[in-house]
């Protein structure tokens, strides 16, 4: 593996200015106007910061505004209002100063169908200004990291959906840009490929890059990111580490039982009740588990016990935000 140093691409004197914050967004608003349709307020005063070297995940329901924010932060979309600094540079007013420092995996993008994965990554690095030998080395290691080195000479159009997505991620990771925006980077990838992406992203942040990504795989957010933001209807409803968010929903242990025969009222005193999909979850503290088990067993119900996942915290926190919105 070649020893790769961080550089921005154009020339070695382009290093990000030394500030602690890679992304600093305040009061971000975005209203989409489409002729013949009512205006859509996609962001409603979103505040978000990412420290240099951090891996942060942006979570939220479909239409919550994640892509809108990522596009604004990556200088691809003009916000309606708000301030945005990338490494201390004003990304709204001077996007051209920010662009050499970033790289983007768009949501549901595709590589050039009539290039091979090798050509895709290599030509992209060349167009970002990398010399031939650096581009060659990085292309090789990015393709290997993404597990597509063996199919490097096949036209992208002949690749499977997940292989195409790996090619897109390889293209962008190979830049080793100081700040990477990844919009659902592991969409359609198998569990092995996803872990490959996680490892590659960890390696990049170890070398000093900063990563802001979105995902609907909450296990991915939990194991990959150091901090998460939960966005609902264009603003942040929760922020913190995965553990912090779990604690906010009432407990770290989940007791699950079939909904049939289980009366929610019987368990309300033990913690938070979540029902759906034919099962009843009781979110609680470890010390109360045996009481719940005894009660359930005495009624002929066999519960299972497991840790609270980020997904449960997400459902709770977003659920609360939806209720508040409705009020």
């Amino acid at each position: 593996m070649p020893n790769i140093s961080i550089e921005v691409g154009v020339s070695s004197n382009l290093h990000p200015p030394t500030t602690d914050l890679a992304v600093s967004a305040h009061g971000m608003r975005k209203v989409y106007h489409t002729r013949g349709h009512p205006a859509v307020e996609a962001l409603r005063g979103l505040d978000l910061t990412v420290k240099r070297g951090e891996r942060v995940a942006l979570l939220g329901r479909n239409g919550a505004g994640k892509t809108t924010f990522l596009k604004i932060a990556s200088t691809l979309l003009l916000p309606t209002a708000g301030t945005l600094e990338i490494f201390g540079l004003d990304a709204v007013k001077r996007p051209e100063e920010v662009r050499p420092l970033i790289a983007v995996v768009p949501q549901e993008g595709h590589p050039f169908y009539h290039l091979t994965p090798w050509e895709q990554v290599y030509t992209y690095l060349r167009s970002r200004g990398f010399p031939r030998d650096v581009a060659r080395d990085r292309t090789e290691s990015a393709l290997k990291d993404m597990g597509i080195f063996d199919i490097r000479s096949q036209l992208n159009v002949t690749l499977s959906g997940g292989q195409q997505q790996r090619t897109m991620v390889a293209t962008v990771l190979a830049t080793e840009a100081p700040l990477l925006f990844l919009d659902e980077p592991t969409l359609g990838m198998d569990p092995f490929a996803r872990r490959g992406v996680w490892a590659a992203l960890r390696k990049l942040t170890d070398r000093g890059s900063t990563i802001l990504l979105t995902t609907h795989y909450l296990d991915e957010a939990e194991s990959l990111s150091q901090r998460v933001y939960i966005v609902e209807h264009g603003h942040v409803v929760a922020e913190g580490t995965a553990d912090e968010l779990k604690r906010r929903v009432g407990g770290t242990v989940r007791v699950t039982m079939p909904e049939a025969g289980a009366h929610p009222a019987d368990y309300e005193s033990f913690g938070r009740i979540m029902a759906g999909d034919g099962v009843l979850h009781v979110i609680t503290e470890p010390r109360r588990v045996s009481e719940i088990l005894n009660l359930a067993l005495s009624r002929g119900i066999s519960p299972t016990v497991g840790p609270v996942t980020l997904e449960e915290a997400f459902l709770q926190l977003v659920g609360r935000a939806i209720e508040e919105d409705a009020r």
Binding site: L14, E96, R99, V104, F112, L115, R126, S127
Partner: protein
């Protein structure tokens, strides 16, 4: 400052090479552009009086330079709408104007075999002086720049690929075939002649036919066609550079 150290045309040749590779992988489509022109010229040779053949040859080159615009329109829209690759390139040190012009240059490579082949045929049928050869090159470059600029600007106005194909085909074939590009200006209605002399493909064709000695134009007509072509080339390329910067960020 960081941004100021980035030259305006940074990455141009690397991106042009990328697009050229994309085009060259589609060798069947390159072969078909050659074939369409060759078939057309074959029928002119077969059916038309011999004096019209050089007109058809010159017209074929000008037309090929002009329909590059259609391919740029489709390609730029396709990789933006379908692939979202514009996001990869705009969120990068590659300047928006290099993205636009690189695409024009890359697509041009797909038409080079046609242009060179028809150029050689023309030379065989109607040998060109050095001056005429030079002017041919300038006119083709002008028409290519106009068409690429137009194609790129128009590509940004669409949200849906399906809506594009009828417009792009109609636009570039209408202006590339109907006016006197493949035939003498004299066969075009006289009252429309000034229009033919300001439309890029027919202006270019008229100038070339004049220099080659196929067409007799008045001094005023030569000046009109030359001025129109120069102004259109400058205006449209500057507009495309400006527009490429502006549209490198949505909602601007």
């Amino acid at each position: 400052m960081l941004g100021d150290s980035r030259p305006a045309w940074h990455g141009l040749w690397a991106f042009a090479a990328t697009e050229a590779r994309v085009q060259l992988h589609e060798y069947l489509s390159i072969a078909s552009t050659v074939l369409v022109q060759v078939i057309f010229i074959f029928f002119v040779w077969l059916l038309a009086p011999p004096y019209l053949l050089p007109f058809a040859l010159v017209g074929s080159m000008v037309f090929s330079a002009f329909v590059i615009g259609e391919r740029v329109l489709n390609e730029a829209a396709y990789i933006r709408i379908d692939h979202k690759l514009n996001e990869l390139y705009h969120a990068s040190p590659l300047s928006p104007e290099s993205y636009f012009l690189g695409m024009g240059i890359g697509v041009l490579t797909a038409y080079l075999p046609t242009l060179v082949f028809i150029g050689l045929l023309t030379e065989a049928v109607h040998p060109l002086s050095l001056a005429a050869g030079g002017l041919l090159l300038l006119v083709l470059i002008g028409v290519w720049l106009i068409a690429s600029s137009l194609g790129y600007i128009l590509s940004t106005l669409f949200r849906d690929m399906r809506a594009i194909w009828p417009y792009s085909t109609l636009l570039f074939n209408f202006f590339g075939v109907l006016p006197p590009v493949f035939y003498p200006l004299g066969l075009f209605p006289g009252w429309l002649a000034p229009l033919a002399l300001v439309l890029p493909p027919s202006a270019g064709a008229a100038l070339l036919m004049y220099v080659i000695g196929l067409e007799s134009l008045s001094g005023g007509q030569v000046i009109l066609a030359a001025t129109a072509l120069i102004i259109e080339t400058l205006l449209l390329s500057v507009a495309a550079v400006f527009w490429s910067r502006r549209t490198s960020r949505e909602g601007a």
